[in-house]
Amino acid sequence: MIGIVLSLGTGVLFGFSGLFPSAFGGFLERWIDISLYVLVFGVGMELAWESKAFEELRSLGFRVFLLPLAAMVGSLLGAAFVALCSPMTLRECLAVASGFGWYSLSGVLLARLGNPSLGLFAFATNVFREILALVSLEWVYRAFGGWAAVALGGATSMDTTLGVLSRVSGGKLVPLGVVSGVLHSLCVPFWVTLFFQFL
């Protein structure tokens, strides 16, 4: 937990202060990709001898799809609540929240659909969702259980939050995280477009 906050915080300070030249943008993107692959490869190795993780998946059967479904419904209910007590419309809140933490895609999608400022807002909201998941996942796991922890990660539970999920659960939640993350990711373009264009 301390390592997570320190790494992220130090990175933000480096970026903000200009200590890391922005000319190295391409290098940074490659760095992110390689770190992600190293992380996921390591999680795969840990998972190889974690029999409990697959037992859980096997015992759930088709009910495993209830987790991403519940997480998506919960996220959208939370967004609808915000629409009730803020000047934003229901359509805007649902379109932004249905990025489920995938900030790059949701921001770009909304900008391309014709509302660049909402795209920017979606970018910031989903960045916050990812950071929120990274820093509070361990606490959520202890307080609310495994499904809640996976749900908090949304679309990121198959990449950036996968390492934290693996750490806090001893690998048990990795298969669930991957299933949930893949389904969330596949649904993002559909929900964002649906809420923005047809609501």
Partner: protein, 91 residues
């Protein structure tokens, strides 16, 4: 997305080829190092986002509120569904 799944499967296969303690030990080191480097690089990218910095004062609180509400909604509903599922699983 698919490449990530391939890399995960590759890690799994390599892990199966070596002893369990070695796979767990190396896997843990790799995932920890990968995670810390990833978070640092993500932080740098966020810190460099000029437009985000400018707009953050304008809509930062609303974005934070929406992110929190969506995350909390997901946690509550998934937590409740997990309880229902595990209650049904018990004899």
């Amino acid at each position: 997305m698919w490449l990530l799944l391939v890399v995960l499967a590759l890690g799994f296969l390599v892990g199966k080829l070596v002893r369990s303690d070695l796979a767990k030990g190396v896997g843990k080191v790799l995932s920890t190092v990968g995670l810390l480097f990833l978070l640092f690089a993500m932080g740098v990218r966020l810190g460099q986002e000029e437009f985000l910095r400018m707009k953050l004062t304008f809509f930062g609180l609303s974005a934070l509120f929406l992110a929190f509400a969506a995350g909390a909604g997901a946690v509550v509903v998934a937590g409740l569904v997990e309880r229902m599922v595990s209650r049904r699983k018990r004899p």
